[in-house]
């Protein structure tokens, strides 16, 4: 019996491999999944993307979890390993990005180990950079950073030996693994020492890993947390809230349950350093101050966040205790994200919201009016509609600021996310800044042929006063082309006409397209492998 968790390659190939391993004919599997054999043939050849209920039926027929079949976790691992290729320290090794797929499929544990070390190294580099100005003055820190670099040098050199020297004896290999272990241990101790030193002085630099870890948490959950959906139902029942509770009702419940009162505050009188998402909880006075310039949807959402954070502490703490979150900062970020999820689940009841989404064909404006949510709140709720048996269209969500920084990433299988060095300037996630407040839709095709419908627009944060400027961000939803016709945004588009799709990429450094007029920097992919139709490159973008 084959291992039920490890099936390598893209979805179609996985289905075919598993079906053959189980000695089931194509006709038989097609019958069990309720589709024609010719359609299954297209799926197995990766010429039709699948997801949702059909993927579930095929997974059931093959006695597999859906995750094992669509390989989302593995794909994420491949993407992250692929990014390592562009690390200046490794660039000269000329590692072929597509080889990450082979490493992950053959040695997933080693791939994870490599990534873990790379993350530790990246974090320590961040520390080192941020500490530079303190080094001149602080001999303790100077010595510590010097030692960090020595340990990093050992880890890097040993890793290169393990990677590039084929004829090591078992003893030598064991000795080199020991070196990595002892150096990693020393690095961890030094990192802890540095944290203590930093906390004693100025605030330490933020690590990049916590955001990645929270991404992983949401990806593993497929952006859907049944426990929190249940909690939302429980809180709604216990507090006697309706399907669409209003701000006054929520503020009254907050006060009754926690003694916290909600007050408005002028931005002129507020110490804005204490405010996050336009509100600030003063624990001493028991007052939640919300800025006057906060829109009504924000006001309602922030009151709900505080309410659910108090009502579902245990459920959230359980979710945050997962292994994927390794640092206190990652757990803090995850707590914030899960509290927002729960607030969203409470404000936008799953069944009612899904029914409206289907009825309105995912028209965000209609859903906003119906459910009194902001553009971002509605998009975020749409992404979470992944309950097995009652799924909406699977959407990815991205949020960007005017610098191009992508500050929120909720992925879907098969869609490349912006890579190192930024995203593709052709995505409406970035072009929407050119036409504020207007919704942009785009049929986009990636190298390798995967096609998606992108929908994006700016959201505006009003300035607190005359002296400040409004702040814009963009929100983008993306869905696989196979689901696009379930949405209002596909109306009038010829989804079958590949020539009409905008050729996009994951970002210039990872994009093989030659002759793109929007190219901002050279592709880091090896030139010989950028020929159209070349299999390794196409495979790297599946």
């Amino acid at each position: 019996m084959p291992d039920s968790r490890r099936v390598s390659g893209p979805v179609g190939l996985r289905i075919r491999e598993r079906r053959k391993a189980m000695r089931i004919t194509q006709v038989d599997l097609a019958r069990r999944a309720g589709i024609s054999a010719s359609y299954l043939n297209l799926i197995e050849a990766d010429r039709r993307a699948i997801g949702g209920a059909l993927l579930q039926r095929i997974a059931d027929a093959l006695d597999l979890e859906v995750d094992a079949l669509d390989g989302m976790a593995e794909r994420r691992l491949v993407e992250r390993l692929g990014e390592l290729v562009f690390d200046p320290a490794l660039r000269r090794l000329n590692i072929e990005p597509a080889s990450a797929t082979r490493l992950v499929s053959r040695h997933p544990d080693w791939a994870t180990a490599l990534l873990t070390l790379a993350r530790e190294r990246r974090d320590l580099q961040q520390y080192a950079v941020a500490l530079t100005d303190r080094l001149e003055r602080d001999p303790v820190l100077a010595r510590a950073v010097h030692q960090v670099l020595n340990h990093v040098a050992s880890v890097r050199s040993t890793t290169e030996i393990l990677d590039t020297v084929p004829d090591l004896t078992e003893d030598q290999r064991g000795r080199f693994v020991d070196i990595i272990l002892s150096e990693s241990g020393a690095l961890s101790e030094l990192a802890q020492m540095l944290v203590v030193e930093l906390e004693a002085g100025t605030r330490g630099p933020r690590s990049l890993s916590p955001a990645d870890e929270v991404d992983d948490l949401f990806m593993e959950a497929r952006s859907h947390f049944p426990v929190l959906e249940d909690e939302a139902g429980r809180i709604r029942r216990e507090l006697g809230l309706g399907d669409r509770p209003g701000t006054g009702e929520l503020a009254a419940r907050l006060e009754a349950r926690t003694g916290i009162t909600v007050v408005r505050q002028s931005p002129l009188e507020a110490d804005l350093r204490n405010f996050r998402n336009m509100c600030h909880l003063d624990s001493a006075t028991g007052r939640l101050a919300i800025l006057d310039n906060a829109p009504p949807e924000t006001r309602r959402f922030q009151i709900t966040r505080l309410l659910v954070a108090r009502e579902a502490q245990e459920a959230i703490a359980d979710l945050v205790a997962q292994d994927v979150l390794t640092t206190p900062e990652a757990r803090t970020r995850a707590t914030r994200a899960l509290v927002s999820y729960l607030a969203s689940a409470l404000l936008f009841d799953y069944e009612a919201f899904l029914a409206d989404a289907v009825r309105y064909r995912y028209d965000i404006e209609l859903l906003r009016q119906r459910h009194s949510g902001s553009f971002e709140q509605i998009c975020q709720r749409l992404v979470s509609l992944r309950r097995p048996g009652a799924e909406g269209v699977p959407f990815a969500l991205l949020r960007a600021d005017p610098s191009g920084h992508v500050s929120k990433r909720l992925p879907i299988p098969g869609m490349p996310l912006p890579g190192p060095g930024g995203g593709c300037p052709l995505w409406p996630l970035f072009t929407a800044f050119q036409t504020p407040d207007r919704l942009i839709r785009q049929l986009a095709e990636f190298p390798g042929g995967a096609r998606f419908l992108f929908v994006a627009r700016t959201v505006r944060h009003d300035p607190p006063n005359f002296r400040s400027a409004p702040f814009l961000r963009t929100i983008m939803l993306a869905c696989d082309i196979v689901h696009a016709d379930r949405t209002v945004y596909a109306e009038g588009l010829d989804l079958a006409a590949t020539s009409l799709a905008t050729p996009v990429g994951p970002g210039c450094r990872l994009c093989p397209r030659e002759g793109c007029q929007q190219r901002g920097e050279d592709s880091a992919l090896p030139a010989a492998r950028t020929d159209a139709g070349n299999v390794p490159v196409a495979a790297a973008f599946r």
């Binding site: 320290a89 000269r92 950073v145 010097h146 670099l149 020595n150 990093v152 040098a153 050992s154 880890v155 890097r156 050199s157 040993t158 290169e160 030996i161 590039t164 020297v165 030598q172 070196i179 002892s182 150096e183």
Partner: protein
């Protein structure tokens, strides 16, 4: 004739790795863990190439380099500074003292081995 390399480095794991890499590339190596020992060894049995850590206990890498460049008996010695202090001012100081190559940690194995063998070969031609 194999290139003779003296490694002056106080981190035992780095010494072990450099020894493995350089001997694999055909060099013959010996190692010392502080600056004073480095000078002693250099005078007793001058190598072709010295791989010199900057932050050595006691007499640091700059001191060793300065002494080496002032000693006519070591005029053919090629010196590679291998250091975690990679700022421009450190590099400039090392160059002003007569270093042949300056490599920062973390280093690429290939770069380091290439540098040692290149300098070793150049020394052999000059000698």
């Amino acid at each position: 004739m194999a290139t003779q390399v003296l490694i002056a480095e106080d981190e035992p794991n780095i010494v072990e790795l450099l020894t493995f890499l350089l001997e694999r590339a055909g060099c013959r190596t010996s190692a010392v863990f502080d600056g004073a020992k480095a000078l002693e060894q250099l005078r007793a049995a001058p190598p072709d190439v010295l791989v010199l850590d900057l932050m050595l206990p006691g007499c640091d890498g700059y001191e060793v380099l300065k002494t080496v460049r002032g000693d006519p008996r070591l005029s053919g010695l090629r010196v590679i500074m291998l250091t975690a202090k990679g700022q421009e001012k450190d590099r400039r100081l090392a160059e002003s003292l007569g270093v042949d190559a300056f490599i920062t940690k973390p280093f690429s194995n290939r770069d380091l081995v290439d540098c040692v063998t290149r300098l070793g070969a150049a020394g052999a031609r000059a000698g």
